[in-house]
């Protein structure tokens, strides 16, 4: 087979690595060091290789000692880390494994443990493969508490392994001696040279062996310095983790005594990948550094992509020699995952592109797509933001949609609102404790706007609570908060009030909801339903059951725009059908979240999470009216009288009428304060904003600067302050 290295073609053999093929072809150099540009060549035969880094196709930072040679392989030498080239078409994946025994290293010690082991046994090796090896060419890169291991198979597949017992049989790495020009091409670790067949021109070197203590240390195992082998070895016990073979130091030869030879210390390389020398360590110590952690950071020894596999023990020995102390007194630098470099793509696995995040869409989604909606992400939901007509910008479309909702009739898919079914004999008591207002006074067939606070009095969420039956309610939440609000309710029910007989169920996806909004909404719906819609028979905040467009429906008279509006709820599977029939029943404008935001902001309705940030109380929002004074207690009540929540200089929600549109997030001067929402208003014929402003309500009528734009402070309701439009077009 043929392969190319640095533009030259060579002959490769089946089963050998790129490094082995280069050495066999007489290529002992071919590489350059990162900082000093010194000629370098293959130095080792494993993952500790500091010199022979190559780029292969799109993949940088490949070690020639680990890459199997293949026909047509094209490798370019790298100095340093290289770069990703072009799109990466490699497929990555993740696997989970549970086993009784995980054995890391398939040398003689590892195989010796695997042979008699019972139960589910995983034998893993980074270099080797073969029938008796469960996962070949698979590096265990991290070992964590609880015997949780991360392994990477062939650079492509991540294994998440939970093992009852871990046996480390990771062996030892040969240590290079430190002498002048110990980095020149041809100088090679003795074990590697032997592996490559002791080729002509190679100078084999060795200064003993250092056990691969990395995983043991990562998992929390202690180390002690072993004078006989001149390196740290595992010490003490670790629950569920055992060390065998040469990792323990057993079977390793005695290390030759360590002395610094004379000569040019600036050519005595300690970390070849980092071009760091004995002279650098001497400089670090001369600067007053004593800890190996500090020496590491000063010299950058051990910070290359091979992470000091060759360098670190030598660095300790050199530093100890220069300081005149025993190397055991210096300890080691901290061993952290990953043991070998892992590409981010491996961790991403299949969770890329379309699969990066789950996507939630409503049953009406196909209609929105077919009608050219522009979508925005709200949590995992894809919601229509606006429906541009030919040539319309977003601002054009939103002004048109707003004008329709305020002037005629418009419709919106509000299916994504969270819905929680609350039932049980104690449901009223439960809601009374969770919400700031009272629910014992809510009649069956009516609904009520509600606010949920945290115990510290800040606003958590808002929504509408509908009393479906004596002991059954339907609570809506904001779109992004459906999960957290259900979890919040469950937490209080389970941990503080287990005596309450209440059951909570998420029914968000069981219902599809269409809001029909505007002064002509009554007339539009009247063509589709027998339910009497006049204001007397169907008052504000009432709920009616019946059929809409022939579909069984629950209709609520609620409004998030200030206009006359009906929200039609049907079985989720009939949602698209309902939407299409309402759309076909006469001229009506579909609108998206952007128009919804403008309409609600004109009325001063806050969006929890936009106007609020976790420090905002109902009083700050000017919503003291929704805080019950009759209830003995509810979550948040006690905190309203905390001195901090009674501070007169708190930020309060106000409206702004700026000279031109300002950015959301703009700081207000004099403040403190900031813009929370900012839009163009079709109804006002100009820009407006909502803001949190210190002492805001006292400052109505003043002028503030928002990023240099003058703005008049006004009340938070900038349109229809009297609420005259709630029942339809004012007479």
């Amino acid at each position: 087979m043929k392969f190319t290295f640095g533009g030259v073609e060579y002959e490769g053999q089946e089963g050998e690595t790129l490094a082995a093929a280069l050495v066999r072809n007489g290529v002992l150099g071919g590489f350059r060091s990162l900082y000093r540009g010194r000629p370098r060549g293959v130095y080792s035969a494993g993952e500790e290789e500091p010199n022979a880094l190559v780029q292969i196709g799109s993949q940088p930072l490949q070690r020639a000692t680990l890459v199997p040679v293949e026909d047509g392989l094209v490798a370019e030498p790298l100095a340093g880390k290289g770069r990703l080239v072009g799109p990466d078409s490699t497929r990555y994946d993740t696997m989970h494994a549970h086993c009784d025994v995980l054995i890391v290293g398939a040398g003689s010690a590892g195989r010796g443990v695997a042979a008699p082991a019972r139960g589910r046994v995983l034998l893993v090796d980074g270099m080797l493969e073969g029938v008796e090896i469960t996962l070949g060419r698979t590096w265990v890169v991290g070992l964590y508490p609880g015997n949780y291991a991360l392994a990477v198979e062939r650079g492509r597949r991540l294994w998440r392994i939970r093992a009852r017992h871990v046996v480390l049989a990771t062996g030892a790495i040969e240590r290079p001696p430190v002498f002048p020009d110990n980095d020149v091409p041809g100088v090679m670790l003795a074990g590697a040279a032997a592996r490559y067949g002791d080729p002509v021109g190679v100078t084999p070197v060795s200064a003993g062996w250092s056990p691969r203590v990395h995983l043991w240390s990562q998992a929390g195992g202690a180390l002690r310095w072993d004078d006989r082998i001149g390196a740290p070895v595992p010490d003490g016990q670790l629950s569920g983790v055992a060390c065998v073979g040469r990792l323990t130091g057993e079977g390793l030869p005695d290390a030759p005594p360590f002395t610094l030879p004379g000569g040019d210390e600036d050519a005595m390389f300690v970390d070849l990948e980092r071009d760091a020398t004995v002279a650098d360590i001497r400089r670090a110590i001369g600067a007053g550094l004593r800890s190996v952690e500090h020496v590491k950071r000063y010299t950058s020894i051990g910070t290359g992509s091979e992470q000091g596999k060759l360098a670190n023990v030598n660095a300790i020995r050199v530093a100890a020699e220069l300081l005149g102390v025993h190397p055991g007194e210096l300890g080691t630098t901290t061993f952290r995952p990953p043991y070998v470099p892992v590409s981010f793509a491996v961790f991403a696995g299949r969770n890329r592109g379309r699969l990066f995040d789950p996507v939630r869409v409503t049953p009406i989604h196909p209609w929105h797509v077919a009608h050219g909606a522009v979508f925005e992400n709200v949590g995992l939901w894809h919601r229509p933001r606006y429906y541009p007509r030919q040539g319309e910008s977003m601002d054009d479309a939103v002004l048109r949609e707003c004008a329709s909702a305020r002037g005629r009739v418009a419709m919106m898919d509000v299916t994504t609102l969270g819905k929680i079914d609350v039932q049980g004999p104690d449901a009223v008591e439960f809601l009374n404790r969770i919400y700031t207002n009272a629910y014992d006074t809510l009649a069956v067939g009516m609904c009520r706007y509600g606010l949920i606070c945290r115990a510290d009095g800040t606003v958590l969420d808002d929504g509408v609570v509908m009393r479906v039956a004596e002991e059954r309610f339907l609570c809506t939440t904001t779109t992004g908060n459906a999960g957290p609000v259900l979890a919040w309710m469950e937490e209080w029910l389970q941990t503080e009030w287990p005596d309450l007989r209440v059951w909570l169920t998420s029914v968000t996806e069981q219902w599809a909801t269409v809001a029909v909004v505007g002064p002509d909404s009554r007339a539009h719906l009247a063509a589709l339903t027998e339910i009497p819609l006049d204001a007397d028979s169907f008052p504000f905040m009432a709920v009616r059951q019946g059929e809409v467009a022939g579909i069984p429906a629950r209709v609520c008279r609620v409004s998030f725009s200030g206009e006359l509006a009906f929200e039609v709820n049907v079985d989720g599977r009939r949602g698209l059908d309902l939407w299409a029939r309402i759309y076909a029943a006469g001229e009506i404008t579909p609108y998206g979240t952007e128009t919804m935001h403008v309409l609600r902001a004109e009325k001063g309705y806050p969006i929890i999470g936009q106007e609020t940030d976790g420090t905002v109380t109902p009083q700050d929002l000017g919503m003291g009216w929704i805080v019950s004074t009759a209830k003995r207690d509810f979550v948040g009540l006690r905190s309203f009288s905390r001195s901090d929540n009674a501070r007169p200089d708190r930020k309060q929600l106000v409206g702004l009428l700026p000279e031109r549109r300002v950015d959301e997030g703009a700081q207000l001067v004099p403040g403190p304060g900031h813009v929370t929402s900012s839009y163009m208003s079709a109804a006002l014929g100009g820009p407006f904003a909502l803001a949190l402003l210190a002492r805001g309500r006292e400052r109505i009528g003043e002028t503030v600067q928002a990023d240099g734009v003058a703005a008049e402070v006004v009340g938070s309701v900038v349109y229809d302050k009297e609420g005259a439009r709630r029942d339809g077009r004012p007479a």
């Binding site: 609880g146 979890a487 937490e491 941990t495 503080e496 009540l637 905390r642």
Partner: protein, 74 residues
């Protein structure tokens, strides 16, 4: 990754759970009677020991039940 023992489901990976802070910090029986200092302690002040710590966890991606466990933070 921690291995967490749910009393209902058994041992599962930490990612299935959510953390709920120190255990046995009960909501005061009569909040209205709590002084400013006591109430602030309840809201904001928690132990942070090096060693055994009794905590609340919830099996969010499992049975959704809250439970207590003891964790060694060392």
């Amino acid at each position: 990754m921690l291995l967490v023992r749910c009393p209902w489901c058994g041992e599962r990976d930490e990612v299935e759970f959510s953390y709920g802070g120190q255990a046995q910090v009960a909501y005061p029986a009569d909040p209205a009677a709590a002084g400013e200092e006591d109430w602030s302690q309840y809201l904001f002040v928690r132990d942070n020991p090096k060693g055994l710590f009794r905590e609340r966890w919830v099996h969010t991606h499992g049975c959704r039940r809250w439970f207590e466990l003891e964790r060694d933070t060392r």
